[in-house]
């Protein structure tokens, strides 16, 4: 058997090779691919962390001379390897998410809007791809814990501040409408960054105590508190998303979860068809409950009065959700669900107030939407990118729509008025599914182009 120092040297070399194989992906990334600044920040961080790790490992044995020190190094190698294995999961999906494979202009528009929140003016969102059809925000406390464990051993950099990581399904890289779900994940980032979880957990504990007294066993209390906290976080993120981007979020939500299955043949709500959409489970509140709360924000932010006039079954779903009462919801499989739900319903107003206090600097985009959507829709109807809207016929003055107002206008056009566009196109059959899908994609591309143009025009200060 070779001496201990040599065994550990072997392990160190093995780790060096492993870290090199990951870090080199970053360093030698495809020069033909372009990335948004947030991704570049993430890659630079991983490159520096990789270099620091390799420096530390290649120094072995350094000043170590004792067996106990070699064994300590062996433990550190184990920690470093496990931590790099964790980081490994993010690198390739982030490299895949170059500007051709993510909705770059939408991300930039959403980031600009997010940065209007007090204290978040420099936040960046790095996008990576997920295999599952799911959007998610990487829990930064977990990521930081792992990254910090590397940094503390190798004296490496910490994850840059105000850098969030959001996963999107790889197939949705160019979609605008479906990616209106991304603001929910931005909400998760804000929720974590503001430490809302502990405040909500305390509120949940208090409400459980009020509703159950001392009847709950300690383990049940912990479990149910966890459930209420989880529901609250999901609810907060929904409300935040609506506050950030308006009704395009619930529209995308309805589209993703096929919310229209709750409607009958007359576009009226059918409780029979909506079965399953009213049941809480251990992770999520039901769709109709979530939509009902989203409508509350649409009302508060003054979207609703105009939105109800939109001729779309998506709006019918929202109207149905709005009409629902607490007693319409259930938590099957739970002992004494009524009291659990009652406790949660008492927390809901607190979530709303948390949202209000966190988003004071974030005005509603509704005002701009109300003044701009008719013009934006007219441009889309005529197959024109709506980035410079003629203010008044006969005058050469042009306005750029607000990006958020633009996305909402485009979504409204897509659900309500695609036929108006098709009416201008030779041989385009409104009743043909493929044709509608093809032209809906064009509307998305024009919207993305308009957001890009608006960014340029705003930078130039031109009107």
């Amino acid at each position: 058997m070779r001496p201990l120092v040599d065994q550990v040297r072997h392990d160190a070399a093995s780790l060096y090779q492993f870290v090199s194989s990951i870090a080199s992906l970053c360093e030698s990334r495809n020069p033909a691919a372009a990335y948004l600044p947030a991704s570049e920040r993430f890659f630079r961080y991983l490159e520096e962390l990789g270099r620091a790790t390799k420096r530390y490992v290649q120094d072995f044995p350094g000043g170590r001379t004792q067996a106990i020190q070699y064994l300590d190094m062996r433990d550190e190698i184990a920690v470093l390897r496990a931590s790099w294995q964790f980081l490994h999961a993010f690198l390739k999906p982030a490299l895949d998410s170059d500007t051709l494979h993510q909705p770059s202009s939408l991300i930039e528009g959403l980031t600009t809007r997010f940065r209007q929140i007090d204290g978040y003016s420099s936040t960046d969102f790095a996008i990576f791809h997920t295999d599952e059809f799911n959007y998610f925000n990487v829990r930064l406390h977990k990521f930081n814990k792992v990254a910090d464990s590397i940094a503390s051993i190798v004296q490496g950099p910490k994850l840059p501040e105000k850098l969030a990581l959001i996963g999107i399904p790889y197939s949705q890289s160019s979609s605008i409408f479906m990616n209106c779900l991304i603001p929910h994940e931005m909400g998760h980032y804000l929720y974590g960054a503001m430490g809302l979880g502990s405040r909500v957990r305390r509120a949940a504990e208090q409400e459980l105590l009020k509703n159950f007294g001392t009847q709950l066993k300690p383990l049940d209390r912990i479990g149910i508190t966890g459930i209420l906290t989880q529901w609250s976080e999901e609810l907060f993120c929904d409300l935040f998303a609506v506050r950030l981007v308006g009704f395009c979020y619930p529209f995308a939500y309805i589209e993703l979860f096929d919310g229209s299955k709750a409607l009958d043949g007359n576009s009226a709500f059918s409780s029979a068809r909506a079965s399953g959409m009213t049941d809480f489970d251990e992770s999520y509140p039901p769709d109709l409950f979530r939509l009902k709360q989203q409508v509350e924000i649409l009302v508060k932010d003054q979207w609703w009065s105009d939105l109800v006039l939109v001729d779309s079954h998506y709006v019918k779903v929202l109207e149905a959700a709005k009409q629902m009462t607490d007693t319409d919801f259930d938590f099957p499989g739970m002992t004494d669900p009524d009291r659990v739900l009652k406790a949660f319903f008492t927390i809901v107003p607190k979530i709303f107030s948390e949202l209000e206090s966190l988003t004071t600097g974030l005005g509603s985009a509704c005002g701009r939407w109300k003044t701009e959507h008719v013009a934006v829709e007219s441009y889309l109807e005529h197959g024109v990118v709506p980035s410079s809207l003629l203010e008044k016929e006969g005058e050469a003055k042009f306005n750029q729509p607000d990006s958020i107002a633009l996305v909402n206008s485009a979504y409204k056009f897509y659900v309500e008025s695609l036929h108006r566009l098709l009416a201008h196109i030779k041989d385009a059959d409104d009743s043909d599914v493929r044709t509608r899908s093809e032209w809906a994609s064009k509307v998305e591309v024009w919207t993305a182009k308009a957001i890009e143009d608006i960014g340029l025009l705003t930078r130039k200060g031109l009107t």
């Binding site: 033909a32 372009a34 170059d98 500007t99 051709l100 007219s378 441009y379 109807e381 005529h382 197959g383 024109v384 990118v385 980035s387 410079s388 003629l390 016929e393 006969g394 005058e395 050469a396 042009f398 201008h424 196109i425 030779k426 041989d427 385009a428 064009k442 591309v445 024009w446 993305a448 182009k449 143009d453 340029l456 025009l457 130039k460 031109l462």
Partner: protein, 257 residues
């Protein structure tokens, strides 16, 4: 056919987008983009780089040949793209254009770009009612590589009035609304040439093909078979197609669709 003056261009831009006589060019990033008789157009950020196709030539019979022949690239504003000597790339204008029903356009290489021996357009004519970013067939015809910066002015758009009164026509869907450079829409030469009465054309792999004759022969042969036999033949064709023995660009394949 008169070239539109700046004043006439401005008048057209002041019309509502739904007006068939209106002209849209967006974004206009500098007020001096307009000259007395032309408008400067900038290079966009998306490119289609020709790449070596899976076959030794681009076969217009192959449905994916057009897309497979290019590599898509995004070069953000501020960054550059190197176009080697004697190489070509498809780009697009940054500006999205909507032409009125009675206006044609022509895009020309800006003289400062042309003097670098770079040509941005070889199919410069734009028909009335066109809308979209213009695809540019960029060629570096010089002996040195050229750095190309998206966002810089590369072309001049000149507009011409066309004497026509019919404003009610619909838009042709094929090229409505491109934002990125468009690969060519390839059409089977057999179909095109049959329009002028030619019944045969020569395929590089399969020799002389008479599509109509072939179709008639196949249909006659199939008609002699029972339904069961026909489905067996179709199953064999599917197997041959799926393992590549009967490629999708074989004209006979199309006859079985």
């Amino acid at each position: 056919m008169a070239v539109l003056s700046r004043r006439a261009i401005d008048d057209r831009r002041r019309l509502a987008v739904g007006n068939k006589s209106s002209l849209v060019i967006t974004p206009i990033l500098e007020n001096d983009a307009f000259d007395e008789d032309s408008i400067d157009l900038r290079l966009g950020t998306h490119f289609l780089m020709p790449q070596v196709p899976p076959q030794p030539f681009v076969d217009p019979n192959s449905p994916n040949a057009s897309v497979q022949s290019y590599l898509r690239l995004h070069i953000p504003l501020g960054s550059y793209f190197v176009l080697p000597a004697h190489q070509t790339v498809l780009g697009a204008t940054l500006e999205y254009i909507k032409l009125p029903f009675d206006i044609s356009g022509q895009i020309l290489t800006k003289s400062s770009v042309a003097r670098m021996f770079m040509v941005i357009e070889t199919a410069p004519w734009i028909h009335p009612l066109y809308r979209g970013c213009l695809t540019l067939e960029i060629a570096n015809v010089s002996n040195t590589a050229i750095l190309i910066y998206p966002g810089t002015p590369v072309g001049q758009l000149i507009l011409f009035e066309v004497a026509r009164s019919e404003a009610a026509e619909k838009l042709s869907g094929t090229y409505v609304g491109p934002v990125y450079p468009e690969p060519p829409v390839l059409r089977s030469p057999g179909r095109i040439l049959s329009g002028i009465g030619l019944e045969k054309y020569r395929h590089p792999f399969y020799g002389w093909i008479a599509e109509k004759e072939l179709a008639t022969e196949i249909n006659q042969a199939m008609a002699k078979l029972t339904a069961d036999e026909q489905s067996k033949v179709k199953a064999i064709i599917r197997i041959l197609q799926s393992n590549g023995a009967l490629p999708s660009n074989n004209p006979a394949t199309a006859l079985f669709k």
